[in-house]
């Protein structure tokens, strides 16, 4: 009977009234360069052991060019490729998308819905990685707890290929 309060707590956590949400803002900065190509960008959630808990987005050239298929350059997103991108059969519905120009992007992921699906309670890292043709590559990591008990507002800052990243989590 001593365990009953914990059990009740666990029940409350596991079955919140409204589905938990991740609200993500990603900034792709403008680049002052002569030759500009939109960056390939991947967003995913990692567990502590770097295994992928959810693939959220992969933005890459969807059409062939004279330089080959758009998917040819996906290994340039080195961390993403290694941590699970290479195991995907692309395109993935709700994950694959066209490259985006410089700007601010608001993305919302809801628990129980693709592509987030269901995340077990625990500690995770949200990773945003960008790689630009004749440019650089950068990965920005935002650690978070899921689903948490209160609203979380987390931020990180890229230095070259990514700008401000903010993650708002409502449990």
């Amino acid at each position: 009977m001593r365990r009953l309060p914990f059990f009740c707590c666990a029940l409350l956590l596991a079955a919140p009234l409204a589905a938990a949400e991740l609200n993500l803002a990603v900034q792709i900065p403008e680049q002052n360069v002569a030759e500009y190509h939109r960056p390939y960008t991947a967003i995913w959630i990692e567990r502590a052991d770097h295994s992928v808990a959810a693939q959220l987005a992969a933005w890459y050239a969807q059409k062939d060019s004279k330089e080959g298929a758009g998917s040819k350059w996906l290994p340039d997103l080195r961390q993403w490729w290694r941590r699970g991108g290479r195991a995907l059969s692309l395109p993935v519905d709700g994950v694959s998308g066209a490259t985006r120009p410089a700007g601010q992007y608001q993305l919302k992921f809801v628990e129980g819905q693709a592509p987030l699906g269901t995340l077990a309670a625990g500690d995770y890292v949200l990773v945003v990685e960008a790689a630009r043709e004749v440019g650089g590559r950068e990965a920005v990591r935002v650690p978070f707890s899921w689903p948490g008990t209160a609203t979380q507002h987390l931020t990180a800052q890229g230095s070259r290929e990514l700008g401000a990243i903010s993650l708002d989590i409502s449990p």
Binding site: D64, A69, G70, K72, W73, R78, Q79, R82, R86
Partner: protein
């Protein structure tokens, strides 16, 4: 340097791969080790040189090239040419998974004296009996078994092409050979005729030697299980080499067998 002398140095490096430190290095250098897309290709250099990976000495022969596809079958190279300093070939990766590209050579290396002149010969065990004149003196025969490899993965890494054949010195990945990252330790196993090769010294040297003032080699020793571990200090292409010597020459005339294994491995930044 005399042309004749040069020829023998090249042969010695290519065929006997002696344990001596002054041996030239044979290598394969792929343009990429991780590829993707609808129609991926890589282009590969094959050469023998002192400096990695600068072709400045002698091309490697493509006659001994064996490519194993992810399904375990052999695959064919395309556009092979041999130039002054290097050979080049292309490979279309039409299967998903890991390809093994290998320059494999096995044979005997003989030196003898005939009428007071030093002679050298190389060939197979079958040819040896008839190839060496009866009047030959101071005949010395050494068997050699050499393997120079590199690996390329299309999509997700796989293991079927990496199965050891049980002959000579071979590398078995514990850490996958196309999944190497600077700062992360990598473990591999060396086998000698299919059995763990213990107590071998393994040397790894990063490429772009011309742009630094030291070899900066990493070394490791294989344990009882034939395994060794390397931690890559930085990203780059690494030449990994081990050599061994035993008496399993496969010929009554050869008392020694010299073996070497070389892999070119790509290490990416995190």
């Amino acid at each position: 340097m005399h042309k004749r002398t040069l020829k023998w140095i090249v042969l010695a490096a290519a065929i006997a791969a002696p344990l001596a430190a002054q041996a030239h290095k044979m290598w394969l250098l792929p343009s990429a080790t991780n590829v993707a897309g609808a129609d991926p290709w890589v282009t590969v250099d094959a050469a023998i040189s002192n400096d990695l990976f600068h072709p400045d000495h002698h091309p490697a022969s493509l006659d001994r090239l064996v490519i194993i596809a992810p399904d375990g079958q052999t695959a064919k190279p395309a556009n092979g040419i041999t130039g002054k300093y290097r050979s080049v070939f292309d490979l279309q990766l039409d299967q998903q998974g890991t390809y093994k590209l290998a320059l494999v050579s096995q044979g005997l290396f003989a030196s003898y004296e005939l009428d007071g002149q030093k002679k050298r010969w190389r060939g197979s065990a079958d040819e040896l009996a008839t190839a060496i004149p009866k009047a030959a003196k101071r005949l010395q025969v050494t068997a050699s078994s050499n393997r120079v490899e590199t690996f390329v993965t299309n999509g997700k890494p796989s293991d079927a092409a990496l199965k050891p054949g049980g002959q000579g010195l071979e590398l078995v990945p514990v850490t996958h050979v196309t999944d190497l990252v600077a700062g992360e330790p990598a473990t591999f196993q060396l086998l000698l005729d299919g059995e763990p090769a213990s107590g071998l010294k393994v040397t790894a040297i990063a490429g772009a030697i011309r742009y630094r003032n030291a070899q900066d080699e990493l070394t490791a020793q294989t344990g009882k299980d034939g395994k060794f571990r390397l931690t890559w200090p930085h990203a780059g292409m690494y030449w990994v080499n081990a050599a061994a010597e035993d008496n399993h020459s496969g010929s009554k005339l050869a008392d020694k067998r010299r073996l070497s294994y070389t892999a070119t491995l790509e290490v990416l930044p995190e």
